[in-house]
């Protein structure tokens, strides 16, 4: 059987930097090809060349046996290549239908035939079993639904080859399952799928073939049935992954105490509803939940970013209610924020400024309110070495760092001052496996020293790996707290969907 798509010896140079170095991939009809690799391995560059967003320095693309060249997305789309971007490309004010047909609108004398468009979308939705509501506004759709719009859009454009760039990064576990089913179904219908990801369990579930990239080169090209997660991870990282260190026993005193904390919010339902939670010294408490069930507000309430309507928050006995963010940080609260650009860093600030941000008031770092650069440059440098953060210079803008590297810098900063308590919200979002391993080890080390950690993550695997106890949030409440040994992914999923322990109620409450 011939290949539907071949990319041969693709090379892309940016100045002296080789982003892609002779990468070849092959894709058959009806096949799911997973391209895995860490951040900066060259996955995105390769796909951008395929989608016409970048021109290769050398190499050739062979589509259906013929050489092809793409000068822009339009060329790629016309030749049957569609891309579902990691950051969705949607118009939130437009309806689902409008979002799907845009660029290929059904028209009559130049007028947009919206009725016909809606019918076509409905037909497509039925054909591929991808559920959407054609008349809803895209902005009112859930993240999972928005992704389905993106997939339908690509299908509507007539794509035979569909590129999915990190499609599961923003989905809930339930939505991930649905997506994997859809991918499989599309492949069975004869579509060819390229799945870009670094999540190996998903690769093992859905892919037929796996190409592994590292530092711009192919380090592995295997059939799914011939490989394992461990082997793929080794090919990705270039070394064997290490086991996390042992966790020692603590019978710590309470460190962070929340009592009946409530935030009313704008809608009729409270955002946080009489929430009580305790984090002890030497303990990691994981917070699991489908995003939007109050986790963000919980973090912000503790760190002082939003005001709390009632309840009590104490850190090591000190009342935090009504106190400023600076006060809370001074009494021993560190915070790895969930959105690194919004709360974690200033894009325009230099790397060393981002490194000291939030601690610039410390005595060592300023004198007569002038910041002493020399005193913290050393500190920032040691972090950069320790976390292997790739920076050009300390004076470079933070915004120029890749997301993963910036995340590492923020994690280093928040761990670096050895506070008693840490909020770690999505600590490994967007970082590669090597760095993830390092961050997990650092958090565990902090716990073993006797500090308390509140871990909020949308990755269940991360929560299960690190937490001593796991609190599950649903609609602003903690529905249950499980001990480490009692928690499984299945039990957590049920609780996250609002179901009680009796498992019968799962199906109807899990909405996408």
């Amino acid at each position: 059987m011939t290949y539907r798509l071949e990319m041969k010896e693709m090379t892309k140079k940016y100045g002296d930097f080789l982003a892609n170095d002779g990468i070849s991939i092959q894709l058959k009809k009806g096949e799911v090809l997973a391209i895995v690799g860490e951040n900066g391995a060259g996955k995105t560059t390769l796909m951008r060349m395929l989608y016409g967003l970048e021109q290769p320095t050398s190499g050739e693309i062979i589509l259906n046996g013929k050489q092809a060249q793409f000068y822009g997305p339009q060329d790629a789309i016309e030749q049957g290549i569609g891309m579902v971007h990691q950051h969705f490309m949607l118009f939130s004010d437009f309806t689902v239908t409008e979002n799907i047909v845009i660029g290929h609108e059904p028209m009559k004398n130049g007028f947009f035939n919206r009725k016909m468009a809606a019918e076509q979308v409905q037909k497509l939705s039925d054909q591929y079993k991808i559920q959407v509501d054609p008349s809803k506004k895209a902005g009112d759709c859930s993240v999972g639904e928005q992704q389905r719009i993106e997939i339908l859009k690509v299908l509507y454009q007539g794509a035979e080859i569909i590129i999915l760039d990190e499609p599961t990064a923003v989905l809930t576990p339930f939505e991930v399952e649905e997506l994997l089913k859809t991918i499989r179904y599309l492949a069975d219908q004869g579509k060819s799928i390229i799945l870009i990801t670094h999540k190996l369990p998903e690769v093992m579930k859905v892919a037929d073939h796996v190409t592994v990239l590292r530092n711009g080169r192919v380090t592995g090209n295997v059939r799914k049935v011939d490989t394992s997660i461990d082997q793929l991870a080794t090919m990705m990282v270039g070394r064997e992954l290490q086991q996390l260190s042992e966790r020692n026993q603590h019978n710590g005193e309470p460190l962070l105490e929340l009592e009946a904390v409530s935030i009313k919010g704008k809608s009729s339902k409270p955002v946080l509803d009489q929430l009580s939670l305790t984090v002890h010294r030497g303990e990691i408490v994981g917070v699991a939940g489908v995003s939007g069930n109050g986790q963000s507000e919980l973090i912000q309430a503790i760190s002082g970013l939003i005001s709390v309507d009632q309840g009590d928050i104490r850190l090591d006995g000190t009342k935090l209610m009504g106190k400023s963010v600076a006060f809370r940080r001074n009494v021993g609260l560190a915070h790895i924020p969930e959105d690194r650009y919004l709360w974690g860093a200033a894009k325009e600030a230099t790397i060393e400024e981002t490194g000291v941000m939030g601690y610039h008031n410390k005595k060592d770092f300023n004198k007569y309110s002038f910041i002493l650069k020399s005193s913290f440059q050393e500190v920032v440098k040691t972090w950069i070495d320790r976390f292997e953060i790739k920076v050009k210079s300390l004076d470079d803008k933070s915004g120029n760092l890749s997301g993963g590297n910036l995340q590492k810098l923020i994690v280093a900063r928040e761990l670096g001052f050895e506070t008693d308590f840490l909020i770690a919200a999505e600590p490994t979002r967007g970082v590669d496996i090597g760095a993830m391993e390092y961050i997990h080890e650092a958090i565990l080390e902090k716990r073993n020293r006797g500090d308390g950690i509140l871990l909020v993550s949308s990755e269940l695997s991360e929560i299960l790996l690190l937490s001593d106890r796991i609190a599950v949030m649903f609609e602003g409440k903690i529905v249950d707290v499980l001990d480490r040994q009692d928690a499984t992914e299945e039990r957590l999923s049920v609780l996250m969907a609002g179901g009680k322990e009796d498992e019968s109620s799962t199906k109807n409450t899990t909405t996408a």
């Binding site: 490309m89 949607l90 409008e98 845009i102 660029g103 947009f112 997301g403 967007g430």
Partner: protein, 305 residues
């Protein structure tokens, strides 16, 4: 003399056309994601080139065409700065305003050898159209008949723009560009072409607005004769939510204020105060604006993750 009568509203309708035309032009730019602060300059360029065209050709039709052309020329400059060279549209717009003010003042001396204002009794103003049928409708007929063609055209343009934006495919794509430029590009839409198209069209509309100013009521050009109408149009555009029908409403409000400020002078009110009326309304209108008008491109996007 009464404050409110038919002629007040009739003159409001006459006054509204430059504001309406310019606001529609501004709305088109806003819809492709460019905030056009240069409306004032575009109108002035139109007013001046209409007079020049009229003076040399003696033809009103040529004058209208040169007026529109003047607007287009300056709008292309604005487009070049903001699209090609990615200049900040606010800065570029303000620069355009001052540039045109200087250029027309200079042109007045270079071409007509006069300072301050140019008037020639041999020049033809825009004709007054007495539309048949309309005249016979009670009340409305009195308001609507006997205006210059550009007045009718302004209202017609608003309706046309509404149909174009919300019913046609090209209009739909224009809306898409303004809502999310990155997404539009990723779809392979011709973003740059659409943006230039919108800016050139706004040049035409502003040029016609200027033509109505210099050839509609009076037949003369004075330095800075736009007197802030471009900015009022900008407010009318925002108040109308960049929606053609909304803009008709908001422009009518400002046109009425314009007419009233002139009328009030007849009530021995100091001119300085009556002239303030449109601007006072502008400030009041700002209270109702809040988050209307230009929508940020980032809205509704995924966060930075």
């Amino acid at each position: 003399m009464e404050l409110f009568d038919y002629s007040l509203f009739a003159s409001a309708i006459r006054m509204v056309s430059p504001i309406l035309l310019a606001a529609l032009g501004g709305a088109l730019c806003a819809r492709v994601g460019i905030f056009n602060v240069g409306l004032e300059g575009l109108i002035l360029a139109g007013a001046f080139s209409a007079i020049v065209g009229n003076y040399y050709s003696g033809s009103v039709i040529v004058a209208v065409l040169t007026g529109a052309f003047g607007g287009v020329l300056v709008s292309l400059l604005f487009g070049l700065a903001t699209i090609k060279f990615k200049a900040n549209p606010i800065v570029a717009g303000i620069a355009i305003n001052f540039l045109v003010l200087g250029l027309t003042t200079f042109g007045l001396r270079a071409i007509f050898q006069v300072k301050g204002a140019f008037y020639d009794k041999d020049m033809n103003g825009l004709p007054k159209w007495d539309l048949p049928l309309i005249e016979n409708i009670p009340v409305i007929g009195k308001l609507l008949y006997g205006h210059s063609p550009l007045v009718y055209m302004a209202f017609f343009a608003a309706i046309l723009l509404y149909i174009f934006l919300f019913k046609t495919v090209v209009g739909f794509r224009i809306l898409a560009v303004g809502k999310n430029e990155a997404a539009a590009r990723s779809l392979g839409l011709k973003v740059t072409v659409l943006q230039y198209g919108a800016i050139v069209a706004s040049g035409v509309l502003c040029g016609l607005a200027g033509t109505q100013l210099s050839l509609g009521q009076v037949t003369m050009f004075t330095e800075g004769m736009t007197a802030g109408r471009g900015f009022i149009a900008l407010v009318a555009m925002m108040l109308g939510g960049s929606h053609p029908i909304g803009i008709i409403g908001s422009s009518l409000l400002f046109g009425l204020m314009d007419a009233m400020s002139i009328r009030l002078q007849g009530f021995s009110m100091p001119t300085q105060f009556t002239a303030m009326l449109p601007y006072v309304i502008t400030i009041i209108a700002m209270f109702f604006l809040k988050d209307r008008g230009l929508e940020s491109q980032a809205s509704g996007q995924q966060s930075s993750r």
